[in-house]
């Protein structure tokens, strides 16, 4: 346990610092492509004050749910956010969400690293049985990253998203604790 369990190879996950971080998240919100990949809510630019209010409104999450800042180990720079919520306690399931707002960090393994940190938290701290996620079928980069982390395709919800006049499927994926443990043992 020497190293913080919040630390990965490229990033570490920590609390949102609402004063400093809100302005950065507000800047990301101008990037509609980022927003549309991250969330199905209609894209809209938000101010730093609105970002802060959204975080505060999210205070009532279920026990164990976390909303975290993703920061680089090298420069300690905020590059994205990650979320674990929708937890069903008696059953041991949870939902993962992640977004990398800084485009220069896309496709370089930062998101994958952050997902691995979150999975470690989900399986070794919360002791969940499985973690689920959903992603637009067109987001090949994210799907590749999730597969790399061990997520398995569990189905497609047909035409769930309507973006720029096109109907797009939502891909659902999941990973069981035993699958995650096998990957971890194989890596050691």
């Amino acid at each position: 346990m020497g190293v913080s369990s919040w630390q990965g190879d490229l990033v570490w996950l920590g609390a949102i610092e609402s004063e400093q971080d809100a302005a950065i998240v507000a800047r990301w919100s101008r990037d509609s492509e980022y927003w549309r990949l991250r969330d199905s809510a209609p894209a809209r630019p938000i101010t730093a004050a609105q970002a802060k209010r959204d975080w505060e409104a999210d205070g009532g999450r279920a026990a164990g749910a976390v909303f975290l800042a993703i920061r680089t180990l090298v420069e300690d720079r905020l590059i994205g956010t990650a979320l674990l919520d929708g937890i069903g306690w008696p059953h041991g399931f949870g939902w993962l969400g992640i977004g990398i707002g800084e485009r220069e960090f896309w496709g370089k393994g930062y998101g994958t690293d952050a997902v691995q940190v979150i999975l470690r938290y989900a399986f070794t701290e919360l002791n969940l049985w499985r973690v689920s996620l959903s992603v637009l079928a067109t987001n090949a980069r994210a799907i590749r990253a999730y597969e790399k982390c061990g997520f398995v395709l569990e189905g497609r919800v047909r035409g769930l998203a309507h973006i720029d006049g096109e109907r797009i499927d939502e891909v659902f994926m999941g990973i069981l604790r035993e699958e995650w443990e096998q990957i971890r043992h194989a890596a050691q």
């Binding site: 199905s40 399931f93 049985w129 499985r130 398995v152 569990e154 189905g155 919800v157 659902f172």
Partner: protein
């Protein structure tokens, strides 16, 4: 179909607003049936008093612009036999989630549910103008799965081992019905 067609009245049942004063006792009785409760929700089941049920109706009333909740009543004697609701609505994407149930075992297998399903689908596609309806259920709800599939719903997602009940794991199953599929039926 003409605009004069009745959306809320069928041959066997009607879709009605919930009526807390009349319905709370009936619904409270349903919540004491674990088999029923385990079919409609993943939350830990618990019996609810009539007063607690009334509070839930108040919450539904407050949420009226976000969900469409109907009591299912028998045309014959107007008693409460179940509910059907559309929630999780995304107007942007034209999607919603359907949950429905017939409360008492004595009222199942009599066509009430089938008619209620057709009526709420007509409401979803013809009044709310949605593009797709999703439904979520569990591997052990074989009857519910057959019921939805017979109406044209397709299994879209199988979430492995999502549910832990009675000492074993069951898959969570997501189904979906597109407007085009409903129209061609």
């Amino acid at each position: 179909m003409s605009i004069a067609n009745q959306l809320f009245e069928g041959e066997l049942i009607r879709l009605a607003p919930p009526d807390p004063e009349r319905d709370a006792d009936t619904e409270s009785a349903w919540t004491h049936d674990p088999d029923y409760m385990r079919l409609i929700s993943v939350d830990p089941i618990r019996p609810l008093s009539a007063a607690q049920v009334k509070k839930n109706y108040e919450a539904i009333e407050k949420d009226n612009d976000k969900q469409f909740y109907f009591a299912i009543r028998a045309m014959a004697d107007d008693r409460l036999i179940g509910f059907a609701k559309l929630d999780g609505i995304s107007w942007t994407h034209g999607s919603a989630r359907l949950t429905m149930a017939i409360g008492s075992t004595a009222d199942r297998g009599k066509g009430y549910g089938r008619e209620a399903l057709q009526m709420i689908l007509r409401y979803a596609f013809g009044e709310l103008n949605l593009y797709r309806i999703g439904a979520w259920t569990f591997e052990y709800n074989e009857r519910g799965l057959r019921f939805l599939q017979k109406a044209g719903f397709q299994v879209e997602v199988r979430q492995r081992q999502s549910i832990h009940r009675d000492g074993r794991r069951w898959d969570g199953i997501w189904l979906g019905l597109l407007r085009s599929e409903w129209e061609s039926k």
